[in-house]
Amino acid sequence: MIEAKNLTKRYGDKIAVNDLSFRVEPGRVTGFLGPNGAGKSTTMRLILGLDRPNEGDATIDGEHYRDLPRPLQTVGALLEARAVHTGRSAYNHLLALAQTQGVGKKRIDEVIHLVGLTEVARKRAGGFSLGMGQRLGIAAALLADPSVLILDEPVNGLDPEGIVWIRTLMKRLASEGRTVFVSSHLMNEMAVTADHLIVIGRGRLIADCSTEEFIERSTEEVVVVRSPDTEGIAAAVEREGGKTTLGEDGLLSVTHMQAARVGELAAAGGFVLHELTPKRGSLEEAFMELTRESVEYGGTAATPQAAPQAAPQPQAVPEPQGETR
């Protein structure tokens, strides 16, 4: 089990992780979601003792990472940035790691085979493609057969076959009773992999619930109504137990009611309908909606700490900005 308590990490005056608390339970895949720059990788580095939190604490099975006697036997980690000497072969890289834990050579061959690098195991890791490097990172994570896995965007650079493979692998590891904590910024990817989701935005916790619940909550059917008399329709719908919100664009959104019933109610009340559209929000949209709100919250919160973050958009989505320049 991984436990984060009030984790806070600042780089200069930038808050990367802000008072973040959560638990990652064993026996299931826990997805760690957030847009670019949300603080996922930073949180993982804090858990792994690579970076020190300014406040708060992270433990694995109740211990700090640095106190684990043979850490790789407890936690296997795949980091976002490469962590391999480019001049060393995959085999020797794994050998050097294995020796620190007293792991035998047989296991090295096993994990190399498992990730499909057998043919290039004796080649310099510097010449590996992105996907091969990722596979080597996964091999290192699995090396000492750990009970906790922390994987930062493992599908990065993998081909479709590789993606299916890692997905199956993570599910299998979880079903064996291990703790699997995996980050991504792709909601759809997590929807098919994770049993549980922890969503963060700008370093803060936004959601911590089962994937099922998250999907149900966020892909609820919405009926969009355009009418000169939204007020009348809203009243009729609410009387029947539906819920409505009136958008700034004058459109009425109805939930908890089927489109047909909304139409019937409009007809019965004699209201003119210009449009009646049932919509099922996509997961990706729901995710963006959720994290966008967190960004707005971060920007408008009247605390002195939040003040320097006054320009939410560019900070929340740094990568596309850099590319368009």
Binding site: R52, P71, V75, R82, A83, S89, T100
Partner: protein, 276 residues
């Protein structure tokens, strides 16, 4: 004392056994990078090559050399022979010492290393032990080889034998000097965490500071010069003290060791406190 009654999993000496494993791992790391192997080959070639070259030149130019220079060589042929070998080869030790640690930062390997050994100082200590021992063994072998190459070349002009007072100590001292130099470079590399900058820093210490210090006026310059790391350290590889030396060989080596120890402590403190 440990009997079967001890529950499996509660091995009390798990951490003591740990350091040996980290040392083994660091040895694997060093030997499995081609650039380290090539640097070591270069060390041997440069050391022996320059011993032969410089000693040969000294012998060939003997009649044209002034009496004072001849006297210096005669007073300590061992120092001349070993010094000819170090002259360039010590730079490979400097470069390698920095690279052994700084390349972990430039490639990101440091993160994998620290995940495997989160007690960071023990990783640094293991690396230092392995590298220093490696350079000591190789340096001593090279030092003996250098002596036996230079000795016959200079024999007619400045005879010396391994059994002469101080000579054996100086030849072994050649290995000791290179080993400490390697450790010094490794410590600086660990502090600077950047290969090119680290190499520049070490070479600055070894090659640039010494001539600069001799520019300082009077006895101040002399003292500063004598206490510089590589200047003080090299005394161990000379069989005879010059009258002008402020330090004995072992004092000099001690000064070099203190410099190195200070840098190592700074490196360890930084390693513990900085984000990786």
């Amino acid at each position: 004392m440990t009997t079967a009654t001890h529950a499996a999993g509660t091995t009390p000496d798990i951490r003591k056994a740990g350091f040996g494993r980290v040392v083994l791992s660091e040895w694997t790391k060093i030997r499995s990078v081609r650039s380290t192997v090539w640097s070591l080959v270069l060390l041997v070639i440069l050391d022996l090559g320059f011993t032969a070259l410089l000693c040969g030149l000294t012998a060939a130019q003997w009649s044209k050399t002034d009496a004072a220079a001849q006297a210096t060589v005669k007073a300590d042929p061992t120092g001349t022979i070993l010094g000819s070998g170090f002259f360039l080869s010590q730079l490979t030790v400097c470069v390698l010492g920095v690279m052994v640690i700084a390349s972990e930062y430039s490639t990101g390997m440091i993160r994998a290393s620290l995940l495997a050994v989160p007690r960071r100082v023990s990783m640094l200590a293991a690396k230092a032990v392995v590298f220093t021992l490696l350079i000591f063994v190789l340096g001593t072998v090279v030092s003996f080889a250098s002596f036996f190459i230079g000795q016959p070349i200079l024999h007619d002009k400045a005879p010396v034998a391994l059994g002469d007072p101080g000579v054996l100590r100086a030849v072994v001292g050649g290995g000791l000097y290179l080993a400490m130099l390697g450790l010094f470079a490794l410590a600086l590399g660990a502090i600077i965490r950047h290969t090119a900058a680290g190499i520049t820093g070490v070479i600055g210490f070894v090659l640039v500071l010494a001539p600069l210090a001799s520019l300082l006026p009077g006895s101040l310059g002399k003292h500063v010069h004598a206490y510089l790391p590589s200047e003080a350290g090299q005394l161990i590889a000379r069989a005879h003290q010059a009258d002008t030396d402020l330090l004995t060989p072992w004092q000099g080596y001690g000064v070099f060791a203190i410099w190195t120890a200070v840098l190592l402590v700074i490196a360890a403190v930084q390693l513990r406190s900085r984000d990786a």
